[in-house]
Subunit: 162 residues, 8 copies
Amino acid sequence: MNNPLVGIVMGSDSDLPVMRGAADILDEFGIPWEMIISSAHRAPEKTATYAREAAGRGLAVIIAGAGSAAHLAGVIAGHTPLPVIGVPISSGALNGVDALYATVQMPPGIPVATVAINGAKNAGILAAQIVSAGRPEVREKIIAYKQKMTRQVEEKSALLQE
Amino acid sequence: MNNPLVGIVMGSDSDLPVMRGAADILDEFGIPWEMIISSAHRAPEKTATYAREAAGRGLAVIIAGAGSAAHLAGVIAGHTPLPVIGVPISSGALNGVDALYATVQMPPGIPVATVAINGAKNAGILAAQIVSAGRPEVREKIIAYKQKMTRQVEEKSALLQE
Amino acid sequence: MNNPLVGIVMGSDSDLPVMRGAADILDEFGIPWEMIISSAHRAPEKTATYAREAAGRGLAVIIAGAGSAAHLAGVIAGHTPLPVIGVPISSGALNGVDALYATVQMPPGIPVATVAINGAKNAGILAAQIVSAGRPEVREKIIAYKQKMTRQVEEKSALLQE
Amino acid sequence: MNNPLVGIVMGSDSDLPVMRGAADILDEFGIPWEMIISSAHRAPEKTATYAREAAGRGLAVIIAGAGSAAHLAGVIAGHTPLPVIGVPISSGALNGVDALYATVQMPPGIPVATVAINGAKNAGILAAQIVSAGRPEVREKIIAYKQKMTRQVEEKSALLQE
Amino acid sequence: MNNPLVGIVMGSDSDLPVMRGAADILDEFGIPWEMIISSAHRAPEKTATYAREAAGRGLAVIIAGAGSAAHLAGVIAGHTPLPVIGVPISSGALNGVDALYATVQMPPGIPVATVAINGAKNAGILAAQIVSAGRPEVREKIIAYKQKMTRQVEEKSALLQE
Amino acid sequence: MNNPLVGIVMGSDSDLPVMRGAADILDEFGIPWEMIISSAHRAPEKTATYAREAAGRGLAVIIAGAGSAAHLAGVIAGHTPLPVIGVPISSGALNGVDALYATVQMPPGIPVATVAINGAKNAGILAAQIVSAGRPEVREKIIAYKQKMTRQVEEKSALLQE
Amino acid sequence: MNNPLVGIVMGSDSDLPVMRGAADILDEFGIPWEMIISSAHRAPEKTATYAREAAGRGLAVIIAGAGSAAHLAGVIAGHTPLPVIGVPISSGALNGVDALYATVQMPPGIPVATVAINGAKNAGILAAQIVSAGRPEVREKIIAYKQKMTRQVEEKSALLQE
Amino acid sequence: MNNPLVGIVMGSDSDLPVMRGAADILDEFGIPWEMIISSAHRAPEKTATYAREAAGRGLAVIIAGAGSAAHLAGVIAGHTPLPVIGVPISSGALNGVDALYATVQMPPGIPVATVAINGAKNAGILAAQIVSAGRPEVREKIIAYKQKMTRQVEEKSALLQE
């Protein structure tokens, strides 16, 4: 099997139903990925090691999803030169606004490419867009994917007229 | 001069003081960029044309900054297979929360890689991380940049002890 | 059948249960309408074309409903001189606050007449008020509708006394 | 002078600097307007009378601007079959979020066409779009206005390249 | 039967399950009340008439409950010298924050005594506190009620120890 | 001099510029008041004693103003059968939203009659409305005050026409 | 049995399902605790007495949990030199944001150590960290607890690979 | 000089004006402290090392202040068994709400004792309360500090009467 290009990290196994969306769309684009559970707070060394070794292991992008005070994506971004995509996950009383702010409001110097709350699917597409740079076949798939979405809108709109 | 790799688009010339931060950091990383003003609402065709032609013109990333109901990044993302980075800009009564939500909460299928409110500098760094894929010299500069930040923290902390 | 005066556009077929409220009230006022699904992001050209041709096709008002980063109404407003009514639709973790801000906080030059979150019925009434200008029979129906609402309040209040 | 087509109502003379924006743009479109101060709370009868007589006096649209618990637009909408445009005005500790919610979240049956916080200029444009129905010369001016905005974007973008 | 001292007004019969809480506690304090449905928007004249006649009919306090853009309490307060208690009612996507802001953020000159979202019971207690001024037997009941609450806390705490 | 009917309590002398608004309007209505600084946290016993003795000393209403985690009004309400009016005061990073929530969201059993953020003037008017019950001369002054406000709206609106 | 080191106070027995989380984790660390129901508003004297006597009775920390306008932790902190941990509890329309602000935004001089909304378990861990100062066996248990969490992350991540 | 008992960490030297408040109050209580600048993102190893060694070096509490996506306190808490106090610092467009959520909403297992936005003084008092456990002279100073605050309230209230 091909070496993974995208690392998907989540803070807890309870985030799996959301984060699987990233893996599914990467499969659709034919991009190899790997998935681990780690935590900026409960497993800080595992997280730091994973992030520090990612570029050397050939990963091109890291997707990190977490809820509440979602530090995972930012902490990983502190340890790697790779682009890091953050997925704020909705959980608890604040419905993901806490995770959104904790993911997107990174201070100058350490960006996290943040997608919508629970937007793991979009995180996967964004990862595909990033790795498509030197991979024309991925670029083609992205273009085809967009065309398919356009057709689906047309078809649903047509159904409405019946 | 080299062809631009990053397109920086902003909705209004009032966004320039913020968005210049993206250009400055790209200069620091030696990545050629171009900058235009366009608007999803006041110049929709210009925006669509720019976005549709970007990949063909050799751009690798588009950074789009806008305030209020910030549709610019999302609209551009609808027209291009390239990764699009959105910079929500603080303006008016809602202080940029409107721009943040309008930029980051994209529906499934069309991601926008959102950075912090007014986070144009981080948008530039993220763009550099993205284009660094096949460019080891950019990767090196990013690593050096991170090391410089670490040293600056050390120096400032040392100053505190005096 | 009469040519439609009101175009109802929604970003996804999942918005149909909400947006049908606009069509129902327009039926009650005897105002012909049409309904399509389009998307500012997944079908940007269809959206632009629809908006650009709307006035020429005899439409008087466009109602656009969308959720999340709801760009649909604003994008349509960028392409047409017609009044555009925006319906922010509640969906996902932010419960429609994202859609409200993305719809109402339009920058100067391109207004969107925004109604309440999920307020499609009010969008229909507002459309009727707008088309009633040269149509005294619609004006009469609006006045009668308001009188009926007043009577219903009276009747419900009377029931309370029993 | 022509009879006014648009009534501009504001809750306090402190709202005048914002609300003048609506009058200015209506002047630009050649649409006659009138302006009064009234208050849903301090002058409720004046407000009700104004709203009830507006249609009979030949007004086609009412624009109402108010801050804080902004009831003015909604109360006027309760008394008239005309379309009512609400302008939430930023004031006090909540920065206009209170006025936005109190203006836009109208219950079913009584819509208020809400524009952005402090968006009086857009309220004027929206009013022009509404009265343009049977007035082709206004429609033309709106189209020209949009084209001018597009040109201005082009010009500012061109300036950036110098 | 005694003449009512407290008028309970609600914007819709859907508010009855919440607003009944005010009537129940007034019964407990032996304070006669009346209850009507009216609406600042759908029945503005009924609302104005009720508010204008309330003091003359012997009412001492009005409690008004409404959801969404909750104008009812403020509009009533504009028409009466009596103290008006506002109950913001949770409904729709904003969960009552809209009703809270629209009720409490009244401009200078026209106060509304606002209680918690859905806090109709507290509105009843507050009304009792207000009418207790010249009625020592009500004052006694309020004191007894507070003592009962204290005892209940004691009892529940004691149960915890078992 | 007459015994005070209204006690005005504030958490800090920094609240005085806001809270003076309550005293000024009570002077205008000829209602005697007293003013103290106390604190639910820094002077809890003084606060409790003041609240417990208020009714016996002849006070009819207590107005309490505080910022941040504004517990003052609620704590006073726990110690007295009198109606307590709360004034949330804007201070610090949250601009008074914290004070509003901490004042208005009282649990069942202990109401606080909350006015707008920084709404001390309205707190004074509300106190006047409450003490007007057995005092027809206060009631008259409130009616006259409302009429004066209506006239002022008329006058300002007339000025606009010149 | 040992004297309790941690006092757990809650405003209502409805808070018990949340607050039990604090007791459970203290049991796990072998730290004796006691639990009472009290209320800053319904049982203010009980609350004040409990807080004033806590240090003398040998308690080292107080954990206080409450919802809505959560004054309990702050009021207790006003009466004791002990560290007080506040648990904002989610209840009602505002989902615990009111309780969070009312607990954490304490004015200078009286801190409350606030944990996440419904974060009673973390309140227990924090209490254990505080009492661990002179108790090496507790410190050891905390270290072991953290190691166990790290192992669990590893195990769950390993399961993902299968 | 005595070994420091409290470590004060801040994410940037721009946080110094706020964080100095913690040091000042610790001086007032006679508790030795040390202060460093570190960053969860720009100096992650320094941060981890500092946190891991803190307990062994004799620190009893760590105070961490940061703004925006404030991960500093949480990351430190992941590396130490000591109690960690978090100070959310107001900065940028979201005024510290982002820092508050990112600091307080920690997931189960890793608490951060959060104080008010910019509440560094209270962080210092809380640290003193925590280290006072085995230090009766600190406990005495805390009690005296509280008594002084009470007297100051009395004095300011007395001034008001003059």
